[in-house]
């Protein structure tokens, strides 16, 4: 498995490197697809919790930090440098001197403060508000107790001081697309229809239900970028239709499902242009602590041993996933490369069940959506495997929209889900901290003093390497405790046309690409030149 992972990584990196090795070419139109729905709900990214609108904000807006997909870490985006206090709480940002908004106004500290206050405004109930709570006074502002966020301080137009409540890396929270910086002197109401940002492309047109068109911003702050003149961000939710459009060269990139992945791999003309990455999503079956058999660790471990995950991945998911080792995915620094996944061993599973007093097995139901990669079909696939060790499983179908509510209210014996498990290992593992409520994200109501101690120590640690080591230990402990069945990490696959260059293996979400790095070579069809 690790060979395969390394190969995929090398291929992905190779694609990126090859693209940069050639001289980028200016001009052209990119037909990019937004595959997660038939609609852009809003152009005001502050109000959006969903990935779909990020396809637009990625072109139009910029955030204080951004994600470096090659280095796998957040990096400064709108500041040339930052000074950090010894206690790791006070950050002084020196904002980019030449960054200007699409309306010509320069970026100032006021714009950052204005944007963060708007995101945290309790009257708005925006999804990014919780990220502001890491700033001193943010929680009080969100609760409506104060009119200002104490930790936000303008030093001068180009210098901003932010005081945080913990020494954790603020880049993870402030790089999210819905933390975009808006100009303070533009009516925010217009951001929902004609967004104005700092990004490499200017908003041109929105055809509801069809596409958003953006055009090159000539005053973008990065030299020589963007390369493209125009990007059409096209709504294409239906995978089979996207497949035809891609093969017909009407679109330049396409996110593939498992069936398409198999057929593209078998097609010599298409297999050369696949970008693969292990995304930060862990598919799992969470066990309820209220359900008596799951209170015993040996039962949870037995289930992990009883299921042949690689077989399901091969047969059902057509190898479009990597078997999960533990909770944190492979691209995170806190992932332990020495660790192996639970071995498929029905005899060991039976022995563990017998030790726990369940030699005659038991019966439980799994709440599952219809999703083909982490829903009812997977529960049906594990059914005979668990039956072999005496456990009877029944799928309990539920509509996708109701899954979150059902799980966070604890109304389940087990559930199957795909959870984002990156890029920040600290915030991901916080979901297993005993003080995190089940209604928040501790869905299996996990409580383990040893884990808590490791997590608290990691949270207070200023040295990044030591912090990573503590988080690695916590993640390994989680694997041993098995509050879930660790199924797989999603393998995201993007097919791209041979004339497209500059795509990056973004482990956070492969479909989100930095448009400013993308360029088209001479072989692009006339319609894209």
């Amino acid at each position: 498995m690790f060979k395969r992972i390394s190969l995929a990584g090398v291929l992905a990196l190779g694609t990126a490197i090859c693209a940069f090795a050639e001289e980028p070419r200016h001009g052209g139109t990119l037909n990019f697809t937004a595959p997660y729905g038939s609609n852009f709900a809003t152009l005001d990214i502050h109000s959006s919790p969903s990935i779909q609108e990020m396809f637009i904000s990625q072109a139009i807006h910029r955030t204080l930090y951004s994600w470096d997909a090659t280095a796998n870490e957040p990096v400064l985006e709108l500041a040339t440098s930052v000074d950090v206090s010894d206690d790791g709480l006070v950050y002084t940002y020196h904002l980019l001197p030449d960054a200007v908004f699409h309306n010509g106004d320069p970026l100032t500290a006021d714009d950052v403060i204005f944007s963060y206050k708007r995101i945290a405004d309790p009257a708005n109930a925006f999804p990014g508000a919780r990220r502001i709570s890491t700033i001193k006074g943010g929680a009080e502002f969100i609760a409506g107790e104060t009119d200002e966020i104490e930790g936000l301080k303008k030093i001068d137009d180009k210098t901003l001081e932010i005081t945080f409540t913990t020494p954790a890396n603020p880049g993870f929270a402030l790089m999210e697309n819905n933390m975009a910086i808006y100009p303070s002197n533009v009516d925010v109401a217009t951001q929902a229809t004609e967004p104005v940002g700092l990004g490499p492309f200017v908003f041109k047109q929105h055809v509801p239900g069809s596409q958003v068109v953006v055009e090159k911003f000539e005053d973008y702050y990065e030299d020589d970028k963007p390369y493209l003149d125009r990007v059409n961000i096209i709504l294409m939710a239906e995978g089979s239709a996207r497949d035809v459009a891609f093969r017909n060269q009407e679109v330049d990139v396409s996110i593939l499902g498992s069936t398409q992945y198999q057929s593209y791999q078998e097609d010599p003309a298409l297999q050369e242009h696949l970008l693969e990455v292990a995304e930060v999503f862990t598919r799992n079956i969470g066990f309820s602590p209220e359900f008596e058999p799951f209170q015993d660790k040996r039962v949870r471990q037995a289930i992990n041993h009883a299921i042949n995950s690689p077989l399901i991945i091969e047969r059902l998911l057509k190898d479009k996933a990597y078997p999960a080792v533990g909770w944190l995915p492979m691209s995170l620094s806190a992932f332990d490369k020495e660790r192996k996944p639970y071995e498929y061993d029905p005899e060991k599973a039976k022995a563990l069940l017998a030790e726990a007093g369940y030699e005659d097995g038991f019966e439980f139901e799994v709440t599952a959506t219809p999703d083909e990669s982490w829903g009812v079909p997977i529960v049906e696939a594990i059914l005979p495997m668990l039956n072999e060790v005496g456990i009877t499983v029944r799928p309990k179908p539920i509509e996708s929209a109701a899954l979150g509510e059902t799980v966070s209210s604890g109304d389940f014996q087990a559930f199957i889900w795909s959870n984002q498990t990156g890029p920040d290992p600290l915030s991901v593992l916080r979901c297993f901290y005993s003080k995190t409520a089940q209604s928040s994200c501790n869905y299996t109501a996990f409580s383990n003093p040893e884990f808590d101690a490791l997590f608290e120590e990691a949270e207070a640690e200023l040295d990044p390497e030591k912090q990573t080591d503590l988080l690695r230990q916590a993640n390994n402990l989680l694997q041993d405790e098995a509050p879930v069945w660790f199924f797989n990490y999603n393998k995201a696959v993007m097919a791209y046309q041979p004339w497209v260059h500059g795509l990056v293996p973004n482990a956070n979400e492969l479909a989100l690409q930095p448009y400013e790095l993308i360029w088209l070579d001479e072989s692009a069809p006339e319609s894209r030149q």
Binding site: S50, P127, A192, L235, E238, V244, E250, A402, Q420
Partner: protein, 311 residues
């Protein structure tokens, strides 16, 4: 005729009210809320404070009867509410998409009528002929073929193999983009129209008054034009009305497949995230469309056959 028209239009109002009540009740009892659906994709973690705040802001913390009363009051003022997700008026969202839906429905219906009716008529005039057999086999195939599959087939043939038409999208609203989705949507009504037209014409052809017309020495073309066509028209108009009325609802799958920006795809997305005002508004518009078309059909009946308005 005026009295008949007023009576038919007034019947629409209670139907709309019952539908509104049904939609409201169904979406109030099904599990899942808008706020909770925001983290159902597993990308973001649940945030109980945000959920509570959103529920308060959207009025979802009010008792059910109060919410229904507010809904009906807004409806009486022709206000379909504000989308939870986009925070824009539902009417505006529907307005943005309605034109594309109408374009698709009208084009599909024209395709179905222009081909289906003459085909059914010609088949009926020569029962048992090769043309009749081919038409009926085609009609049965058209009726039984899943639209989704047919759409993919057409995409493959006309876009991928022949390169004549774009495989998806609205483009600049040109005819080229409309052809494939309209044909896909129009095949089922075409098949149905061909069958019903054939059946209707055959039925009339066997009637006594046709025999009488022939006995009087009237020419075949006059019999067909004056007697057969007019009498068979009632069944054809009924089928056209029913199909045209339900076409916007049927277009949901086609819109999704061809990335066509109609209200069908808006409805699907809104159901998935429990954007109730948009769901309610969209379904109401689809129902209203159906009722209006049917009322129009009733009025056309009355014009074609004076016996109907006397009932």
């Amino acid at each position: 005729m005026l009295q008949f028209t007023i009576r038919r239009i007034l019947q629409v109002i209670p139907t709309i009210l019952v539908v509104a009540l049904l939609i409201f009740v169904i979406f109030s009892v099904v599990p899942g809320s808008f706020a909770a659906s925001l983290f159902s994709d597993g990308r973001t973690t649940a945030n109980p404070e945000m959920i509570a705040q959103l529920n308060r802001e959207l009025g979802l913390d009010l008792p059910l009867p109060q919410r229904f009363l507010n809904y009906v009051m807004d409806l009486a003022h022709l206000d379909l509410g504000t989308s939870f997700r986009t925070r824009q008026p539902v009417l505006q969202l529907i307005n943005d998409r309605m034109w594309a839906s109408l374009q698709l429905a009208v084009a599909a219906m024209i395709f179905a009528v222009v081909i289906g009716v003459p085909l059914g008529f010609t088949a009926a005039m020569r029962p048992g002929s090769i043309l009749d057999s081919v038409t009926m086999i085609g009609a049965v195939s058209g009726l039984s073929m899943p639209q989704f599959w047919l759409g993919l087939l057409l995409m493959y043939l006309f876009a991928l193999q022949l390169g004549w038409l774009p495989s998806f999208g609205y483009g600049d609203g040109s005819l080229r983009n409309l052809i494939l989705p309209a044909i896909t949507l129009g095949v089922t009504p075409l098949a149905l129209l061909a069958r019903t037209t054939r059946a209707g014409v055959l039925d009339v052809m066997n009637a006594d008054f046709i025999r009488t017309a022939h006995a009087k020495g009237m020419s075949e073309s006059k019999v067909v034009r004056w007697h057969v066509a007019r009498n068979a028209l009632v069944l054809v108009v009924t089928t056209v009305g029913l199909q045209f009325g339900s076409m916007i609802g049927q277009a949901v799958v086609i819109e999704k497949l061809f990335a066509w920006p109609g209200i069908g795809s808006l409805l699907v997305d809104s159901v998935a995230i429990r954007d109730i005002p948009v769901v309610q508004g969209t379904i109401l518009v689809i129902v209203l469309w159906f009722l209006l078309i049917n009322t129009a059909v009733d009025l056309i009946y009355a014009a074609i056959d004076p016996r109907i308005k006397q009932r």
